[in-house]
């Protein structure tokens, strides 16, 4: 029943696809290939490999591999740095007063604008791309963690004090878990930002990856291939978000439970 209900909600997707197919076929514009042609190219480029490799072709590994590696390493690195710094800032009002203007300035700078700077400063390729991703996605993680660490329930902190928790215990057992719902909200936002910045970094400063492939196909007038890249990125974003929500639901089960009852 649940499956049927879920499928029932998805009816708009095939409708849009069919409409798109009909319109693009009728228009016969080279810039707008019909979705069937795009899917066919996607299959040829990426998903016609041997079953032992989950049908992935060499092209898929060459395009997706470096991109995903950049995305995840950039995101994880930022998560560690952002959460650690955010907890420190959130726990210390004085530190917060000092760095707040810097944070406000830093997050107001649109991250793609820094690509030329990172290119001048760092090597073309992965270092400049990682710097772009880290600089762009750190803000939601940092700000949410600061907020989470700052708004720990006073009575939870007093309980920790009464029972003589060490500062490590207070951090790991009280402050971090309290801040976790907000940290996860920041991480999720950061994940979708990381995907965007990965593509931008690859377009500006890339020699491989999906972003680079996108630019290459556009310059070579391979429009079905270009559309294939766009669709692949959309699907990737959707899958990443779904996977993240799955993890979040497990880690924050207590939070959902507690919110339901109070």
């Amino acid at each position: 029943m649940k499956v049927i209900a879920a499928l029932g909600r998805l009816w708009l997707v095939p409708v849009v696809l069919v409409a798109w197919e009909v319109v693009t076929r009728a228009a016969e514009q080279p810039f707008f290939p019909p979705p069937s042609a795009v899917l066919a190219r996607m299959y040829e480029m990426w998903f016609s490999g041997p079953p032992s490799r989950l049908l992935l072709t060499d092209g898929a590994l060459a395009d997706l591999g470096p991109s995903l590696a950049r995305l995840f390493s950039g995101w994880l690195l930022t998560a560690v740095v952002g959460v650690a710094a955010g907890i420190a800032i959130g726990c210390s009002p004085r530190l917060s007063d000092y760095v707040n203007p810097l944070i406000q300035f830093g997050r107001a700078v649109p991250p793609p604008l820094l690509v030329p700077f990172f290119l001048a400063l760092l090597k073309l390729g992965t270092p400049a791309q990682l710097a772009t991703i880290v600089f762009g996605v750190i803000w939601p993680i940092l700000l949410n963690t600061v907020d989470g660490a700052r708004t720990v329930d006073r009575q939870h902190l007093e309980t920790a004090r009464i029972f003589g928790f060490s500062s490590v215990q207070r951090l790991w057992r009280v402050v971090l878990p309290s801040a976790l719902p907000k940290i996860f909200a920041g991480l999720r936002l950061a994940l979708s930002l990381a995907l965007i910045l990965m593509v931008i970094a690859e377009i500006f400063a890339g020699t491989d990856g999906i972003g680079y492939r996108l630019l290459y196909t556009q310059r070579s007038y391979l429009y079905p291939d270009m559309w294939g890249c766009i669709v692949l990125l959309g699907v990737l974003g959707y899958l990443l978000n779904s996977a993240f929500l799955l993890v979040e639901r497990r880690v924050l089960a207590w939070h959902r439970g507690a919110r339901r009852t109070t």
Binding site: E158, T159, I162, G164, G257, A258, R260
Partner: protein, 260 residues
């Protein structure tokens, strides 16, 4: 065990404690009652070292309280904000025991035994939000029990539960107090409760609060929700505390007796 001398505290220009003096002997359960807003919680927070009073002295086990004392536990009124919702009941009880130097297994055993004593032997794996308010407050009490404090502070511990649960919890506290020889300072605004659970009842006046009376209940340690409340001694004491809380004097009014 605990001696409070001339405790004064002001929030800005507003003086809440106007010189409170009281003492609690070892193994005693003293209830502090007073009109709402009279500074009961301020008194308790000062004893817990959560608040630095403007003046006066608090001695616990012969040492002045300057920061939070080492072996003191507290049961707050608002259990939902005192227990950690990201931990099971057993972990909530076991976590403070780390500083006692117990290993993981012994902490676990102590937590289970404390949960057993409050009648929650099977609820160790449950999370606070899976429990009723009364159960959560029992976990809170179990956490304090397992910690074996020399002084247990209770801040309106039964203020947020329904009447039936409240009676159960009152008896639970009387039980564990007798069983462990625990020293307890309990704060309440409920006159009936202050008399029912206390060995002594300390009545505070309106703020700036001073001690209006310090009365021994003399009801014995074994009490019963129905029978004890019918005793003459209980009824008389409750009436007296009631008058004091409303700002009257300790003198026995004679009107009721004269009419008979």
């Amino acid at each position: 065990m605990l001696t409070i001398t001339d405790l004064v505290h002001s929030y800005g220009p507003h003086r809440v404690l106007g010189g409170v003096s009281l003492s609690v002997a070892e193994g005693e359960l003293v209830s502090v009652v007073g009109p709402s807003g009279c500074g009961k919680s301020t008194l308790l927070r000062s004893v817990a070292g959560l608040l630095k009073p403007s003046g006066g002295r608090i001695m616990l086990a012969g040492r002045p309280v300057e920061r939070t004392p080492d072996d003191l536990a507290i049961v707050f009124q608002d259990y939902s904000r005192s227990l950690f919702p990201w931990m099971s009941a057993a972990n909530n009880v076991a976590l403070p025991l780390r500083r006692k130097g117990l290993d993981r297994r012994r902490r676990r055993e102590a937590a289970m035994s404390a949960l057993d004593q409050v009648g929650l032997a099977d609820a160790g794996a449950k999370y606070p939000w899976e429990m009723s308010g009364g159960m959560q407050q029992r976990v809170s009490i179990a956490r304090a029990l397992a910690y074996r404090p020399s002084l247990l502070l209770m801040d309106e511990p039964f203020g947020s539960v329904d009447a039936q649960t409240r009676e159960d919890l009152e008896d639970l506290v009387l039980n564990v107090c007798a069983h462990h020889g625990m020293t307890i300072l309990l704060i309440t605004h409920d006159i009936d409760e202050s008399v029912y659970v206390g060995d002594r009842v300390v009545v505070l006046t309106r703020s700036p609060a001073v001690v209006a009376a310090d009365l021994e209940t003399r009801l014995g340690r074994s009490r019963d929700q129905i029978a004890t409340r019918q005793l003459d001694a209980f009824v008389r004491l409750r009436a007296e505390v009631g008058r004091l809380v409303r700002g009257g004097h300790t003198t026995e009014p004679t009107s009721v007796l004269e009419k008979q």
